[in-house]
Symmetry: C2
Subunit: 133 residues, 2 copies
C-alpha cells in the first residue's frame, strides 16, 4: 500500500509519528492541526453543512475549512455527502474511523477546557517570575 | 484570574475552544500543534535534556523546540529544571497536569499510528476517484 518507515528496536508499531518520514505524522497533523481538531470536534456533535460548520468553527476562513475538510475526507475520517439537488446540498459527517479519532480529541479538548483555571494560573506565575513576555 | 468568554445557553463549561476569543483555544494549539503534540508525547516517556529531545522529535529546529517548550512551560504543562553546574544542565519533564494532557495525546497518537493502514487505503481510493491531487 505504501512504503513503511524503517523500524528500530524500540518501535512496536510500523508507523511512528516521531519519525519525520512516517506518513502517520501527516495524518496526526490533519487531526490535531488548528482547524482539523476543531472541525472533527464539531462533527462529533453531528452532521453539518459547510456554512453551518463554518459558523461553528469560529474564525475559520472558507478556504481553510475547505482545505481541512478535503484532507480529512482524503484520510477517510470525514464523509462528504452531496445531494443531487439544485443548488446541491452537501453534508459533512464523520466516518466510523473519524468518530473514533474525534472521540479521543473531544476527550482532550474537554480536559483542556476543564483545566484552563490551572493553565491561566500557571501563566500568571510564569509571567510574574520572568517579568512578562 | 482572567476575563472569561461570554457564555451562551449551549455551553456547559466557561471555556470553549470553539470560540475564537477563548484562551483555551491557544492552549489547545500549544498542546496539539505540530511540535507541541510530539514534544508532550516524547516527555511522556520520561525527562529529556534539550538536545536529547531535539533528536527524539525528529525534524524540529532548535528555535521551534525552544518556542514550543516555553509555551508548554508557561501553560504549566512542562517543568524546566536547571542544575547549577557549569555548563548548566537543563532537564525538561511533564508536570502532573502535563502528564494528564500527554496521556490523552499519546492515546490519540497511538490510535492514529495503529490505523494508518486504513488511512492510507482511504487516501488511495480518494485519489483514484478524484484522479489524484
Amino acid at each position: 500500500m505504501t512504503t513503511m518507515p524503517e523500524r528500530t528496536a524500540e518501535q512496536d508499531l510500523p508507523y511512528d509519528v516521531f519519525s519525520r518520514a512516517c506518513p502517520s505524522r501527516g495524518t496526526l497533523e490533519h487531526v490535531t492541526g488548528r482547524w482539523g481538531a476543531l472541525t472533527l470536534g464539531a462533527l462529533f456533535e453531528g452532521s453539518f453543512r459547510f456554512n453551518e460548520l463554518r459558523r461553528r468553527v469560529d474564525g475559520v476562513s472558507e478556504k481553510m475549512l475547505s482545505q481541512t475538510l478535503h484532507a480529512l475526507e482524503r484520510d477517510g475520517l470525514v464523509h462528504r455527502e452531496a445531494q443531487p439537488t439544485n443548488p446541491p446540498r452537501v453534508d459533512y459527517e464523520l466516518t466510523p474511523l473519524g468518530r473514533e479519532v474525534a472521540e479521543r480529541l473531544v476527550g482532550l479538548i474537554e480536559f483542556v477546557e476543564g483545566r484552563m483555571g490551572d493553565v491561566l494560573g500557571a501563566r500568571a506565575r510564569y509571567d510574574e517570575t520572568r517579568g512578562g513576555r
